[in-house]
Amino acid sequence: MGDTVMLAERPDVREEQAAPVTKVRGYWQTVGHRLRYDPVTLMFAAIVLLIVLAAVFAPLVAPFDPYKESIIGRLKPLGWRDHLLGTDELGRDMLSRLIYGGRVSLLMGVVPVLIASIVGGALGVIGGFAGGRTNTAIMRTMDVFYAFPSVLLAVAIAGAMGGGIINGMLALTLVFVPPMCRVAETATTQVRSLDFIEAARATGAGTLTIIRYHVLGNVLGPVFVYASSLVSVSILLASGLSFLGLGVRPPTPDWGLMLSTLRQSIYVVPTVCALPGVAIFITSICFNLVSDGLRSAMDVRL
């Protein structure tokens, strides 16, 4: 019986000094630190930044007016008379149209994901925290939308609504809400059962306070990572919708739409006709790799 008592006789109560203090970093600072030493991800992030800047400052960057047609200069190959990337079937400069096309593609890539993150994230946190019937109701509703392959659902909604950029973005948002909801709900459910949530309740905090200070911080990480991986999917889906004629209307430049209208001309200038797809591919893959890098950096073993 004496073991514990003998040890407890020692009068020391003070904690011995901790290990020498290295710079104490917060969670997000740790993420940033790890990213700084990841050259691959940084490189692709730079490319993404370039694409975004080119799209934003399109009027300054594009060499020609993307809407200016030319009867004689149609379907010209690469390098023809200052047209670095050739011309399309109406004589418009490809490079300029690609740069301007980036605006629509990026818009339709980012906005639906953003809105879906907020809406789906909120639904997921509510469901995850409330648990029980509320959670089941929300998740079962999401399951119904999960039953559709995403392309099909996007095409169905956009097609039924008649196309156009707004309807396209709406359709994409609806496609992304269920997966975002699921990610948020999983993260919330995991956090909810941990002891520190009970401790927070024991101090008398209300539900909203607990969510705000304790749950959100732990949920934002997975949600952010997943959202970043959805951007490239959104760009692909959006260009697919435009390819089918469900996106922007001509003559607005858009990569998917350009691929569709140039299809007839592949026997004339095949290389030029494939270019919009190259733009989609490069943008999508860069976003993907940046998202992968972010996921690795955020996978901090706590």
Binding site: T4, V13, R14, E15, G26, A202, A205, H214, N218
Partner: protein
Amino acid sequence: MSEAMDIGGPAQPLLIAREISKHFHVRGGAKTSRVRAVDGISFTVFKGETLGVVGESGCGKSTLARLLLHLVERDTGELIFDGEPVGAPHGITVAALRRQVQMVFQDSYSSLNPRMPVQDSVAFGPFVHGRGKSAARGVARDMLMKVGLNPDLFGPRYPHELSGGQKQRVNIARALAIEPRMVILDEAVSALDKSVEAQVLNLLHALKQQFNLTYLFISHDLNVVRHVSDRVLVMYLGRAVELGPSEDIFTRPLHPYTRALLGSRPSMDPANRIEEPPITGDPPSPIDPPSGCRFHTRCPFAEAVCAERSPELGEWSERGSHVAACHMLDAGSGHSRAVQ
């Protein structure tokens, strides 16, 4: 610190629990069964004492802790805190109860928010109770100092950067930050190495003196409970089987279960051998507890009456009383070994 809030006076028990029960409904396939986690427990906690609660895993200790803090709603029974019933219209509200009773959890990886610096975790309590952010942080740093952690060194750290003992000190600081009168310690030292455990126990003792606290100390480690407690409550399968002053229970245990528990402790003392047969069998599940006295299936002295009727605990509200729920102590029970 807490004299100002003392309403009932020194003679009034700080906490009276009367016939508390909590049953959980568990869905196993098609049918629903009831887990009788806590099944009619009554006890008192006097001001300034440390009441130890012991029992095997699954006896309901942790559920009891959560019931006392109202983290879980009780099914039956009443709680009286410093003379006022909890949750009753004319009594004390749950929110007010939570300002006066706090809990220190077992140190696990999940007892502190991994994304929050430790001082923010401690500051959360005062913040919720109305202090501003910087004032709350000031309280937190002060509290960290009091539990033996240098606030400049440890305050901005994250839980994964702390050792087990350091994390428990943080947990204690968090519980004390809102200046409670009573602290429930649920297996608070069970996950620590022995030497660290000793340090933390000393700390708890010092804090109790300094802040005039009352402790409810839950543990499965009998040696520790004996060392820290003034009185002890022994639980079995959701029921109270013995209650009394610590030394009395450990030197003259009345209930067969307590005796078996004490007999099963590994001891370094060759003079301390117990003759009674040890406990046999596995503890039955709280879903389908045995009828009558819960312990009768494993009790070497069990008789027919034990399966029929549940024994009463006896006079549990007096400070010095040592009682046990066993038919052998009840003259009129019909048990052949009953004391006359």
